[in-house]
């Protein structure tokens, strides 16, 4: 039977009091970041020293916002309508593209306050949305979204078709026909459901300096890609091909593109599934041979996602890496002239580059439809779209921006545009597509580990597509 010593009691009380004050106080004052000097911006990207000998700026210097990018909740005043906006970003710099634009919007339209929430990955945001919708609570008014989601959301009656609003909107006239088509989300019978402000084109990064050393040309076909990877493969320092084994990203970024390039459609117009056709199995085997037979991939291939792969490319370990126009600034900032890009290599039937549109989506549950539309429209106007174009590497959306010099002068944009005939989409409108996409990751890992063979792999996933 011990009595709490007086000192301890006082300490406990003080602690409790302090904590309660902190909790009710509405926020700890975060230490104000010291204003960064121009050569050292506040938000670094992973920059292994082996890449850049000198203290190189790790972020693009041109249009860098000088304050620390931080998704913040603006202070709302009484009488304002609050619009809740969710988005994701690959890094804080990209996050700032949204938050800065929205701040500008607030200045322009003081009657609307935008409360933002940064959810770090696309997949997480989708799940949060669906969960909130199912529970009928916590739904945002507007989110950043991708065209690939639209069919699913339309079916769930989550979103608002936008054609009536778009017709009265000036910028809509400016949209390229391709954008009008892609903004429906992949099912021609749907209405446009997204106020597009970006189009993302994938391509293949390569170490231009290594290629030059070895006197190689960037690969045009998948077979050439394999040759090049083997030629440049010098373990343990250098690996020919950055394999994306982690979390199923290979579907949309690597093997999925190759399959489409071979003519595999996944789901054909007559709704039959060809994912387990002989061509598909062959290509899948070819893909896994990169790891097991030719050994041109990095040791951590099985679990690497883009953060690790970026670190590999920037750190001088990888010769080839699939990604897209939307990361060109990040790579160039670190590697400068050493990195370049080439269109996705073509398969047996041609080239396929899955181009996704991204933009703002309005939700049916929102009670602030008009205000939400204003936010979405603002982000879609040429001024903001240009921001995304330059800073995030979006391709052309508007006719008025087609002649912009960046498309002509920048090698990354060139690589993206050169693949234009192959621009297209996956049949992600299929009701079982999300389920199949979720299974892709673990099944691929099993394939690489030889727990299943290529035929079983294809069959398992084809069955999910067929039966759900």
């Amino acid at each position: 039977m011990q009595q709490l010593s007086r000192r301890r009691l006082v300490a406990l009380g003080a602690l409790g009091l302090a904590a309660i004050l902190a909790a009710c106080g509405g926020g700890l004052p975060t230490p104000t970041p010291k204003p960064p000097e121009p050569s050292k911006p506040a938000a670094p990207a992973p920059a292994p020293p082996t890449a850049a000998p000198a203290a190189a700026p790790t972020k693009p210097t041109a249009a860098v916002p000088t304050e620390a990018p931080k998704p913040a909740a603006p202070v709302t005043k009484p009488g304002q309508t609050v619009v809740e906006f969710w988005f994701w970003a690959d890094d804080p710099y990209q996050a700032s593209l949204h938050t800065d634009s929205l701040k500008k919007f607030q200045e322009k339209t003081p009657s609307i306050a935008v409360r933002t929430d940064l959810i770090v990955t696309v997949a997480d945001q989708r799940k949060k949305l669906l969960t909130a919708f199912a529970a009928n609570a916590g739904m945002p008014d507007v989110t950043h979204g991708t065209g690939g989601w639209l069919p699913e959301y339309y079916d769930a009656k989550m979103i608002v078709p936008l054609e009536s609003r778009l017709k009265g909107w000036k910028t809509f006239e400016d949209w390229l026909p391709a954008i009008q088509r892609l903004s429906k989300g992949g099912r021609p019978q749907d209405q446009i459901g997204i106020v597009t402000n970006q189009i993302l084109v994938p391509y293949l990064y390569y170490r231009a300096d290594w290629f030059e050393e070895a006197k190689l040309k960037p690969p045009d076909t998948l077979d050439q890609m394999l040759e090049v990877a083997r030629a440049l493969n010098k373990p343990p320092d250098r690996y020919g091909f950055g394999f994306r084994g982690g979390d199923g990203g290979s579907l949309g970024q690597q093997i999925g593109l190759y399959l489409k390039g071979d003519g595999v459609e996944f789901v054909k117009p007559d709704n039959s599934v060809d994912l387990d056709s002989p061509e598909a199995i062959d290509r899948v085997q070819w893909y896994v041979d990169l790891v097991n037979k030719h050994k041109v991939t990095q040791p951590s291939a099985l679990t690497d996602r883009f953060p690790e792969l970026f670190a590999g490319l920037q750190g001088g370990k990888l010769a080839l890496l699939h990604h897209g126009l939307w990361s060109w600034k990040t790579q160039e900032a670190v590697l400068k002239e050493k990195v370049s890009a080439t269109p996705i290599p073509s398969g047996k039937k041609g080239r396929f580059a899955s181009t996704g549109v991204e933009g703002s989506i309005l939700y049916a549950t929102s009670k602030k439809q008009d205000e939400g539309w204003q936010v979405a429209a603002f982000l879609g106007e040429p001024e903001q779209a240009k921001l995304f174009m330059y800073e995030r590497g979006s391709g052309p959306i508007m006719k008025s921006l087609l002649d912009d010099k960046i498309f002509k002068e920048n090698r990354f944009y060139k690589a993206a545009l050169d693949s234009q005939p192959g621009w297209g989409e996956f049949p992600s409108w299929h009701p079982n597509w999300p389920k199949m996409a979720d299974r892709w990751g673990p099944e691929l890992q099993r394939l690489v580990k030889n727990e299943v063979n290529a035929e079983r792999f294809c069959k398992n996933l084809a069955d999910v597509l067929r039966k759900g």
Binding site: A123, K127, L130, T131, F133, A134, E152, D155, A156, P236, G245, D247, P299, S300, A301, L302, T303, E308, A311, G312, P434, K435, D438, G441, P442, E443, Q445, R446, K449, E451
Partner: protein, 310 residues
Amino acid sequence: MSTSARPAVAGIEVVRARRARIDLLPYILIAPAVVLVLIVTVYPALYAVQISTTNANMIRMATMRFVGAANYVNAFDDEIFVIALGQTVRWVIVNASGQMALALPVALLLNSAFRGRAAVRAGILVPWVVPGAVVAIIWRYMVDANYGVVNDILLRLGAIVEPIAWIGEPLPSFVVLSTATIWAGFPFFAITLLAALQAIPEDLYEAARIDGAGAWQRFRTVTLPLLLPTILLLLLLRMIWLSHSIDLIFLMTNGGPGYNNYTIAVYSFILTWSQLELGYPSAMVIMLSAVLLVASAFYIRSIEQSREWM
């Protein structure tokens, strides 16, 4: 008012045949807790049972239909479920025994007085208070294939020739997950065992010593029997907890590589989280809970029985 001969005894009112009175105070005292638990735990559990008989999916709630026991039966046709089943057993047994195997010697160590004991006792509590998310981060980074310190140490020691991709290989990833779980979990065991050890009266040891028992015999005849109920109960609690645990597995590997670290709980969670399924995952977890309930009943009965002949 009916009273007993000793009016000062609180709470127990003697009930006379003529006037039966129910003492309300205990019920009032426990009511808030019970009500809270009822609303927030029991009702959802019943709802979960109900939903396990449907094919409900979060985004297609309107079209859900009753499927009876289909979820339960079809589970055994599901390749992943069967894999997860075996791996659940593996996970529980390896981690429970690992934690106990480490905790018992540690408790014995701490039971003896030596300088610095207080520091050691404080030190081993650190893993226990670390949040699961932090445990996952620490171990994930330490075994990273490219930048991890574990590979570095092993390479320097000459134990391996090239870095192991711990997270990416079936068995190594299980080893990492188990190590992290044991690391985080054994302190609770150790401290509880220590408390139980310290409650064993010294005279029992004296008596045994006087009878000429050696150290090992004293352990076997005095320490172990008195400790056994605590050990067994703790093991039970821990095995139940392990059957449910998803934090570390989910945070470190998402259940991968492949399905190699799926347990029933992990599979159910991932299905709910990523596919937004409700019916099938609920069925899985209910099956798990049912098995645990039955196993616990047997287990507790055998503890009682073992107590009798001690």
